[in-house]
């Protein structure tokens, strides 16, 4: 019940905002209030959560009995951190939007709808329900980009919609494949996991896995399905980019751990090496292309491809370890570490990239451009910006003490035994990321003061309270995870071990 309230509350609040024609200013505050309540609800959820207890707060209601699809939601150690991430990041975006945005009422309503779709996807334990929320997130994001973006926003929004919709239909085909392989037929994730479909028919299972992987890879995004991402990010408003990178990409990676891996364990084992390869290619490709960007936002967008590559590296290694352990020795404890690292990486990336995009938004507000060539020497002119950007950048490049390090270290440590070459190559990706972030810091913060034409150097203005309140919690949480990783790992670990056991069947 609590979970249902959590999922549906934002959308209902959004509906009320629009239907009741709430005044603009009040709508912005109502959004902040709603997201505060959501943060509170997630905290309550976390408080009552038993890490070793499997699915909790689960509710199952009849929905489409003929195909055994139901309204089935629940939380485990894999989804709880992501629910928390969603709640926090949307809260930050709500605060960020207090700075003023055109048409605040519909803006707030769309983001509240978007929040429901994200929370719903993480909570869903039924394929159709998962697909419903997954697909609606695309619709809501399309309108956010088309309505509040800048630059060539309509084209970017259209590309985003068409491309990710193609991905979601591939995913739907995969779901239908899972359904047809189950006995008795069901769309219920828990039942599909208990009795994996297409067991013993490796050919069909491979095709179904392919559909799932393509569908999720578009959303994640993984090379070569990432081309929608840079334009969408560049032209979306700052809070839109933060949500898109911070939460929406996680819908893709979460799909792997919630659906693809446990329902098709054999196929995941067999194709684990290839998943690792896709991950490593994304790591390198994302880093290299990011290095070539001369626009801050595009650079951050490509580092997302890089960071999601680590997640896939870890998850693929789980498959490889499970396969190698199939001779009776069981998967090494390393697999659990890799899976934990992958989930922690999702959370970490959400916090840090969310912060990075909001910080980049500060530049847009002040100068209307993200080009490196147009900015310089901001350390003195905008010290608040410099600090926030530096912390987020160091976190993103994997500096110890921040969450990125914890995540990437676990992924590498867990994967090393299974896929040593891949890990060595991926570490090169870390070096590249470090290089590109340091270069960005150097270009933007050091040297002579440089601002875009027409901007008064004295009038840049300090970082406002609203901006600070929106960004600092994200960085603070990242530091918290970096210094006290057990807070997160204690919740994720048991669930990740459970996932490994399922893959190793």
């Amino acid at each position: 019940m609590l979970l249902t309230v959590l999922v549906l509350l934002p959308a209902l609040a959004g509906l009320v905002l629009v239907a009741a024609r709430v005044p603009d200013r009040a709508a912005s505050w109502a959004w902040v209030a709603t997201s505060s309540v959501v943060v509170g609800l997630v905290a309550w959820l976390w408080w009552g959560f038993d890490p070793g207890g499997g699915f909790q707060y689960d509710v199952k209601l009849r929905w489409i009995p003929t195909v055994d699809a139901s309204y089935h939601v629940g939380v485990d150690g894999l989804s709880l951190p992501l629910l928390a991430l969603t709640a926090v990041l949307f809260w930050c975006c709500a605060v960020w939007s207090l700075r003023g945005t055109p048409r605040p009422r519909s803006h707030a309503a769309l983001f509240l709808l978007l929040q429901t779709t994200c929370l719903g996807t993480f909570a869903a334990l039924d394929l159709i329900l998962f697909f419903l929320f997954f697909d609606l997130s695309i619709v809501a994001m399309y309108f956010v980009i088309a309505g509040w973006g800048h630059g060539d926003r309509r084209r970017s929004a259209l590309t985003f919609f068409l491309y990710t919709f193609l991905g979601s239909l591939a995913l739907l085909l995969g779901f239908i494949g899972l359904f047809l392989g189950s006995e008795p037929r069901t769309f219920d994730i828990v039942r599909l996991v208990e009795d994996p479909p297409w067991a013993g028919q490796s050919g069909t299972a491979t095709w179904v896995l392919l559909a799932l992987v393509v569908g999720l890879a578009v959303k994640t995004p993984l090379v070569p399905f990432h081309t929608w991402l840079p334009p969408a990010h560049t032209d979306a408003p700052a809070e839109g980019s933060a949500v898109l990178a911070g939460v929406l990409l996680k819908l893709g990676t979460f799909g792997f751990v919630r659906i693809a891996m446990p329902t098709l364990p054999d196929a995941w084992q067999r194709w684990g090496t290839w998943i690792v390869v896709i991950g490593v290619v994304s790591v390198l490709w994302g880093a290299l292309v990011a290095l070539a960007q001369d626009d801050l936002k595009r650079m951050i967008a490509y580092t997302s491809v890089n960071h999601m590559g680590y997640v896939l590296l870890g998850l693929g290694a789980v498959g490889v370890l499970a396969r190698d352990g199939a001779d009776g020795s069981g998967p090494a404890a390393a697999a659990g570490v890799a899976a934990t690292g992958a989930v922690v990486q999702m959370v970490s990336h959400g916090l840090l990239t969310g912060a990075l995009f909001l910080v980049a938004g500060m530049l847009w507000t002040r100068g209307g451009t993200y080009a490196f060539a147009r900015w310089g020497g901001l350390a003195r002119a905008l010290p608040g910006f410099a600090v926030l950007f530096a912390v987020a950048a160091f976190g993103s490049l994997g500096l110890p003490g921040l969450s990125g390090f914890v995540a990437e270290f676990q992924i590498f440590a867990g994967s090393l035994a299974a896929v040593p070459v891949a890990v060595v190559v991926a570490v090169v990706g870390i070096l590249l990321t470090a290089g590109l972030f340091l270069r960005a810091l150097q270009r933007l913060l050091t040297g002579d003061l440089r601002v875009p034409d027409g901007v008064d150097t004295g009038g840049l203005g300090a970082v406002t309270t609203v901006e600070r309140v929106a960004v600092v919690p994200l960085l603070a949480l990242s530091v918290a995870v970096g210094l006290l990783p057990w807070v997160l790992v204690d919740v994720v670990g048991p669930a990740a071990d459970g996932l490994v056991a399922l893959v190793a069947r």
Binding site: W63, I64, P65, A69, L132, D135, L158, L172
Partner: protein
């Protein structure tokens, strides 16, 4: 014929009574008060829907010596037809208020609905011929109702093609009699395998060509763009919804019944028709600038998805419920899309429509619900329809068709967004609203959008009880 048999046709009797009664009342009603005929028509539809709903859960029965089957499919088509026809009458009322032939339009609309019901319910080749004519002839008249150049041309095309296909239908029915000596589906399916293969093929070709023509499937779709674009929005909504759903149900009965075993390869043929319809319909819709022409091609592609279910009729257990769900979903959503056209009168192009919705965001919201519904986004009704279509086709071994349908769904998103995007731009600008919009059309649009969502969320539960 017994009283019981006649009672089973109560939903159709209500439509017929409303048509005849409306005509008589209209004759004695002054020009300015013809609204009362519209009320009679709507009342007839509601009674028809109520009578259909009352027997929806009942066991299957055939009446009039097996020529007419009352089962869940008939029931759902009856409900969808009645609801869609009521909506069309409401839209027509806005278009035709004070028109000298107002009454005739309502009566003809009711007769089309009656023909659609008959198409869906018939299990006899000769009754199929009669239903085909009943669903066609009033529609020609309505297409040309405005007596303008485009409407007249469209009606002529529609009529000529329909007459040609009607002859093919008669040839098919004759071949059926030649091969088996019977016309009832039940008797035919028993004796058709013994008939000469060429005769069986001819029969299947003739009967299916006719119902596919009414459904507007490729390659007998040429009338659809002209008729839908040439007619007024209300009439376009009628001819692209009501006879179509009746015809798809008829195709399902044919493939599941008499032609289930012979001729060989029929299912593959239907699959190819489905593939061609969804693909060509989509390709042609891409760059249309006229709203109604765009929707016309969109309905052709929708028929393609519906025919996916017909392909596996009789071989997959879930096919019949999936078809019923998609039929209802399609009717609601398609009516909504045409109501959106009618809600912004005299704006026939994509850009014009956008200009007409300044300051009216709710129109756009409902349009988005309807168009995303046609794409198949959850939680709209067509999503469940498509899910059923995809699942049953994949279950029947047509995975390639499912992949093609998925690709087509993505492609269709493109042209629906060509309609939504400029309107979204206009609505989000702060320009004030201009002019007035016809309230009835707006009500139909919002009702359709709401029903689409409601059906999408609750259809699974309804399906379980029905």
């Amino acid at each position: 014929m017994t009283a019981q048999d006649a009672l089973a046709l109560l939903p159709e009797a209500a439509l017929l009574a409303a048509a005849v009664g409306g005509l008589l009342v209209g004759l004695w009603t002054p020009q300015r008060a013809q609204r009362r005929v519209a009320w009679i028509a709507v009342a007839g539809c509601l009674v028809s829907a109520a009578a259909a709903a009352a027997v929806l859960g009942d066991p299957v029965r055939t009446v009039f010596s097996g020529t007419w089957t009352v089962d869940a499919t008939t029931g759902v088509v009856r409900l969808a037809v009645a609801a869609a026809t009521a909506a069309v009458v409401v839209l027509l009322r806005t278009e035709l208020a004070g028109h000298p032939r107002e009454t005739e339009a309502y009566v003809l609309t009711l007769l089309v609905a009656l023909g659609a019901d008959a198409l869906a319910a018939t299990t006899d080749a000769l009754l199929l011929v009669a239903a085909y004519l009943l669903a066609s002839v009033p529609a020609y008249t309505l297409t040309a109702f405005r007596k303008d150049a485009r409407g007249t041309e469209a009606a002529l095309k529609y009529y000529l093609l329909s007459a040609l296909v009607g002859v093919v239908l008669l040839v098919g029915a004759a071949a059926l009699v030649l091969g088996t000596g019977r016309t009832g589906y039940a008797a035919v399916s028993a004796s058709l395998p013994a008939a000469a293969p060429a005769v069986a093929a001819l029969a299947a070709l003739g009967l299916l060509a006719a119902v596919l023509f009414k459904a507007g499937a490729v390659p007998v779709h040429f009338w659809v763009p002209d008729a839908v674009d040439g007619a007024s929005p209300a009439v376009a909504a009628l001819i692209s919804t009501v006879p179509k759903i009746g015809a798809v149900a008829a195709a399902f009965r044919l493939v599941a019944g008499p032609f289930a075993e012979t001729p060989a390869g029929l299912a593959l043929g239907v699959a190819l028709v489905a593939a061609a319809s969804m693909t060509l319909g989509n390709l042609a819709a891409f760059w249309q600038t006229s709203l109604q022409r765009l929707l016309a091609y969109s309905t052709i592609s929708q028929v393609g998805y519906l025919l996916m279910i017909v392909t596996v009729a009789g071989t997959v257990e879930l096919a019949a419920p999936a078809l019923r769900l998609y039929i209802a979903a399609y009717a609601v959503t398609n009516i909504g899309a045409f109501a959106a056209v009618a809600a912004v009168p005299r704006r026939t192009t994509l850009v014009g429509w956008a200009a007409g919705v300044t300051g009216r965001p709710w129109l756009l919201v409902s349009l988005v619900v309807c168009l995303l519904g046609l794409v198949g986004t959850p939680p709209t009704a067509v999503f469940l329809g498509k899910l059923g279509a995809f699942t049953t086709a994949a279950d029947g071994g047509y995975a390639w068709l499912v992949v093609l349908a998925a690709v087509n769904s993505v492609a269709s998103l493109f042209y629906y967004l060509r309609w939504v995007a400029p309107a979204f731009r206009v609505v989000t600008s702060t320009r004030p609203r201009r002019g007035t919009v016809p309230r009835p059309a707006v009500v139909v649009l919002h009702t359709a959008a709401a029903t689409s969502l409601l059906l999408g969320i609750t259809a699974g539960l309804l399906g379980a009880s029905a």
